[in-house]
């Protein structure tokens, strides 16, 4: 039974390898018939995988698949982080809305800012008015000096 299974494993190898070494592998299996068959079967399975990987260029596919998996995992991780941040922002907004004191404070500070802006504008207007009055007073004197 184990010999049949080992022959099947040899048959599973790529044709070129099987035709070159298949008989020898079976010969080695037959000659080691007194030993445990398990290491032979495991070695045969590993050999099938290795030969197909190497010969069919599947190792390139494997590297590509591993790289793609890494990119997908990286993207999923960043997406999860972004969603977590969104949730945090939502929680902060809800927390702020839940406390009317914060709104009152905001309104108070906004009123103070508006009042401060009004004071600045008034001071600015006063300054520009005074500078216009000075230039108007100086105007006729300049004209007379030009006539002379």
């Amino acid at each position: 039974m184990t010999r049949f299974f080992y022959r099947f494993l040899i048959w599973m190898h790529p044709r070129a390898f099987r035709e070159r070494f298949g008989d020898e592998m079976l010969c080695a299996f037959d000659e080691a018939s007194g030993a445990s068959a398990a290491p032979f079967l495991i070695d045969g399975l590993v050999s099938v995988a290795r030969q197909w990987m190497l010969r069919s260029g599947l190792w390139r596919f494997s590297i590509g698949a591993a790289a793609t998996a890494l990119v997908i995992v990286g993207y999923a991780h960043s997406e999860a982080n972004w969603q977590r941040k969104q949730l945090n922002a939502q929680e902060l907004l809800e927390a702020r809305n839940a406390h009317p004191l914060d709104k009152a404070e905001f309104n108070r500070e906004a009123a103070q800012a508006v009042a401060m802006l009004a004071r600045y504008r008034a001071a600015d207007k006063k300054k520009s008015d005074s500078s216009r009055g000075t230039s108007a007073a100086r105007g006729p004197a300049n004209q007379s000096s030009n006539q002379n």
Binding site: L26, A28, P39
Partner: protein, 118 residues
């Protein structure tokens, strides 16, 4: 141009064992497996899949070659392999490299004290 011998070093453990096994005399696959088992004092058991994968590579690199069967009453499925002169040079270079590593390791162990970080 790179040295063809140096470009093959270091050898994998399986390749080193196989080259050592066929260095003394030509052997067939199962004979190589038994010799590797004996050399390693039973620590390294080479399966046919690993053995023939390595044999294929070693033949392609010109380190071993297949030779004609010795006896007429031998199992016709058996094929014998022997070391080439290039394979002998590669094996000698690998043994020298391993000897150097061993010397370094022995010196490091002799000069270092346990638990001391330099």
């Amino acid at each position: 141009m790179k040295d063809p011998v140096a470009s093959l070093l270091p050898l994998s453990p399986a390749a080193l064992h196989i080259l050592t096994a066929v260095a003394g005399e030509e052997r067939h696959g199962y004979g190589i497996m038994q010799e590797v088992f004996r050399q390693s004092e039973g620590r390294y058991k080479l399966g046919p899949g690993t053995l023939y994968d390595n044999i294929e590579k070693l033949i392609a690199r010109g380190l071993i070659r297949e030779v004609a069967r010795r006896a007429a009453d031998d199992d016709p499925r058996r094929r014998y392999y022997q070391l080439t002169s290039f394979g002998r040079r590669v094996l000698a270079a690998e043994v020298a490299r391993l000897g150097s590593v061993l010397r370094q390791a022995k010196m490091s162990l002799a000069t270092s004290e346990p638990g001391k970080i330099s």
